[in-house]
Symmetry: C2
Subunit: 239 residues, 2 copies
């Protein structure tokens, strides 16, 4: 099986962690979104949607990280704990994984895009009204996470970690790069994130190396134009 | 099992059709989003996210239509054809169902909201620049549908209908209410929609009764203020 990914992408990191932790015998093929390697004709042959992550397993070319998780489960190459077989627990996991798309994934990555990535690429500041609306939507998601999903649970679906937590944690670290701390004022989320990170280490920190470096620098970004320019050059699209 | 739904909601219609076609012994409990019946404290006890569709099966309260499909499959109450067990075919179905969330579902329902529902509720015309952007995103999705998903296939995942087609078809009819025809200039999509509708009838037309009525009227809406006011009153939020 061949795995194509960029650790700058949240679902790529999720699958990277799950593949490593489960010691799935895969060929790891990193590529660079920044260098637009996903937009080549060669990569279109690998994934018709030209996105990462994706896999090729014999004659099956599969995209969509959550579909890949289910395929790995169906093939029996990941431990049952990550995608439980028991009907009710699987239903609760599926409920989160469905909710994830238009909540955690959509609202947090949109904030990251508007606040951080788009300004670095274009050199234009975000529209304050639009950014405020996007931040409001992100915070609504994070509040549901704190008060509905975690409530008094240790993990998203109960007392054991599973893939839902991994998908969520990789997404929730993304706005930290833009200087936003999702755990502030959200003790359940803070405890959960710490536990999940610890459960998934060393693979979690390994996957998040670039995220951690940029998160640490994000306070500086706001103050020092030199740093802004460094990142702007880093993410400038190839002409 | 109790099923809560409003036929005005796309995923509600999808589950309605799948439950009826599979003769699942469920108690059908329609509720009215227009009358904000989903926002009551009583309904919050049924679904903590206060959305439809959702189910209650003994002590399991489950939301998210695609998670409910998987639960029904796990319980063995729907025919295998709707959610295939064969590994590759299931992977392809899961790939579509994951793609669905942030493509078909997100872009089409956002267009419907901006073009039709929000103006009716507020009495304000949509922002033309924002609507053009939303329409562009919807058309990108519909073009991927035409050229990538359907390409030379009869159904989304191959030569047989399954739940992916039902989820997609219920979503694709929604912008018709706003006077937009997604099949225009897209022959694969047009043929596919006709076939899916025919395969799913009479349940498909039964579920889409309100959609069809409004779609027929949508040409008139643009010309006659009387009709606009009729719908505006119909969707005015309760104070």
């Amino acid at each position: 099986m061949k795995f194509y990914y960029d650790l700058f992408s949240q679902p790529s990191r999720t699958l990277y962690i799950l593949l490593k932790i489960n010691k799935v015998p895969a060929e790891f093929n990193p590529l660079s979104l920044r260098k637009t390697q996903h937009l080549t004709a060669k990569f279109k042959e690998i994934n018709r949607f030209q996105k990462v992550p994706c896999i090729v397993d014999n004659d099956l070319k599969l995209s969509e990280s959550i579909a890949i998780l289910r395929y790995l489960d169906g093939k029996g190459v990941i431990d049952e704990r990550w995608y439980p077989k028991e009907l009710h627990l699987r239903a609760r996991t599926d409920e989160y994984l469905a909710w994830h798309h238009n909540n955690t994934r959509l609202t947090l990555s949109l904030y990251f895009w508007q606040k951080w990535l788009h300004p670095l690429i274009t050199g234009r500041n975000p529209d304050p009204k639009q950014l405020a609306e996007t931040q409001k939507n992100m915070e609504k998601t994070l509040d549901s996470f704190e008060n509905i999903w975690l409530e008094n649970r240790k993990y998203l679906t109960g007392s054991e970690i599973n893939a839902a937590d991994v998908f969520a944690a990789c997404e929730i670290l993304q706005p930290m790069m833009a200087g936003y701390d999702p755990t502030r004022g959200r003790p359940n989320l803070g405890n959960w994130l710490q536990t999940v990170r610890s459960d998934l280490n060393p693979q979690f920190d390994e996957a998040h190396d670039i995220v951690m470096k940029i998160s640490k620098a994000s306070g500086i970004i706001q103050a020092q134009m030199k740093v802004v320019n460094f990142f702007r050059n880093l993410f400038r699209r190839k002409k």
